[in-house]
């Protein structure tokens, strides 16, 4: 990925927004149904800050912030904090608006076992976009 200047405040805001995924996901009545075949731990990388997201049949049971000691994840999705911040705007700019737009431009990277990722792609994309709902609050990313 191209180098991006890291602002610790942006990293913190984005990480906090992702840490609210359990409550944001629980508020979406249909999300767990759509993700009911996915049970795994996957990693969100906010720059160098790792977050471990635990999914149980489509429910987000926890989000823990690293660093971790040799913790395994089924797959990982990593982008710079500023990239995630743009992605989390309620109406993101063209090119910032979709995870695969970010991977195409080299600003996000997906690695690991991609079969469960692709098999549940819309669920994962919807989950990652949930912090857009926070955009009008002080916790906005």
């Amino acid at each position: 990925m191209p180098p991006v200047a890291i602002d610790p405040a942006v990293t913190e805001r984005v990480a906090r927004a992702f840490e609210r995924l359990p409550e944001l996901a629980a508020a979406d009545a249909d999300l767990a149904r759509r993700g009911r075949f996915l049970t795994c731990d996957f990693e969100i990388g906010v720059g160098s800050v790792p977050l471990s997201v635990s999914i149980d049949h489509g429910r987000v049971t926890s989000v823990k912030r690293g660093p971790f000691l040799l913790r395994s994840h089924t797959f990982s999705i990593t982008a710079a904090p500023e990239t995630w911040a743009g992605f989390h705007q309620p109406f993101p700019e063209p090119g910032d608006h979709d995870l695969l737009a970010l991977t195409k431009s080299g600003r996000a990277r997906v690695s690991g076992d991609l079969v469960p990722f692709m098999g549940n792609l819309q669920f994962v994309k919807d989950l990652l976009a949930l912090p857009r709902l926070l955009a009008n609050t002080e916790d906005a990313a």
Partner: protein
């Protein structure tokens, strides 16, 4: 009174690539024939708003058909023993043959995505047959952004993954109902059909070398691309147009890769002036 739309759907029998086919064709309106080409992995339902738009159908005979293997057009007999692969040659000939079979006189062809790509070849090889050509989300070439092997394999649901891949190509401003209707067509596609269409897009359809043969004085060419389309980006379309003197490019705000179906109201702001211009050139 029952509430019927003015669209009429019929089945057209014609031979394509030496094999009999039965194509589902919808049409509405009277006037200049306007043949609409759907995107890869979808079907002609994408054009239902164009077919129902009186501002268009009072001047144009709008025709939208499901390509073989798509929608209500069956694959040809023997399909079960072959892998479907669309090519530049078969796609081009399909459009020409359909126009001839329907005896369309100097039609306008409007295609989106792969349909936007093929209008470039129609312009290069058959420009004199057409009144004008419209490429939506059109480029002679664009950078791939995923491995098409994901589209047809037993351990990933094909319909779900096809829809999930293209969902991000739409503008976030597009109405949710229209976005999900657009995705439904991807969820309905036959196994391997989207992948087979992309054979044209990815493997066989690099049209950069044919652009120099396009004569827009003979057949006007309009290229319209949504700003949120990261598959065929506005830059891809502009780069294509730089090699075609006279091609008119429009970048459409708050639209993505499926303008006619993801946000019909926004799209008509862009397409009506183009259709008016074509008509006024009579």
């Amino acid at each position: 009174m029952p509430h019927f739309e003015p669209i009429i759907g019929r089945y057209l029998h014609l031979e394509l690539s030496g094999r009999p086919h039965r194509l589902y064709v919808e049409e509405a309106g009277q006037g200049i024939p306007l043949v609409c080409l759907h995107t890869a992995g979808a079907d002609a339902r994408q054009y239902r708003h164009i077919l129902n738009d009186k501002a268009i159908t009072q001047h144009y005979r709008v025709i939208a058909f499901d390509m073989p293997w798509h929608g209500k057009s069956l694959p040809p007999e023997g399909f079960e023993c072959e892998e479907y692969q669309l090519t530049t040659a078969t796609y081009t000939q399909m459009v020409v043959d359909l126009c001839e079979a329907m005896r369309l006189e100097k039609p306008v062809v409007m295609g989106c995505s792969i349909g936007g790509r093929i209008v470039l070849n129609l312009a290069a090889e058959h420009g004199s047959r057409f009144r004008a050509l419209i490429g939506l989300e059109s480029a002679a070439y664009q950078q791939p952004w995923y491995d098409t092997e994901w589209l047809n394999r037993p351990d990933v649901h094909g319909g779900e993954v096809c829809a999930a891949l293209v969902s991000g190509l739409m503008a976030p401003q597009s109405p949710a109902a229209s976005r999900h209707e657009t995705l439904w067509m991807y969820k309905c596609g036959g196994p391997g059909v989207f992948k087979g269409d992309l054979h044209f897009y990815r493997v066989d359809g690099d049209l950069r070398d044919v652009l120099a043969r396009i004569d827009t004085a003979r057949c006007p060419l309009y290229l319209l691309t949504g700003e949120y389309d990261f598959s065929c980006t506005p830059a891809d379309t502009k780069r294509t147009a730089e090699s075609i003197p006279g091609a008119e490019v429009t970048v459409m705000k708050e639209l993505g890769h499926f303008p006619m179906s993801e946000n019909p109201a926004q799209f008509r702001r862009y397409i009506l002036p183009v259709l008016d211009k074509i008509r006024s050139a009579e």
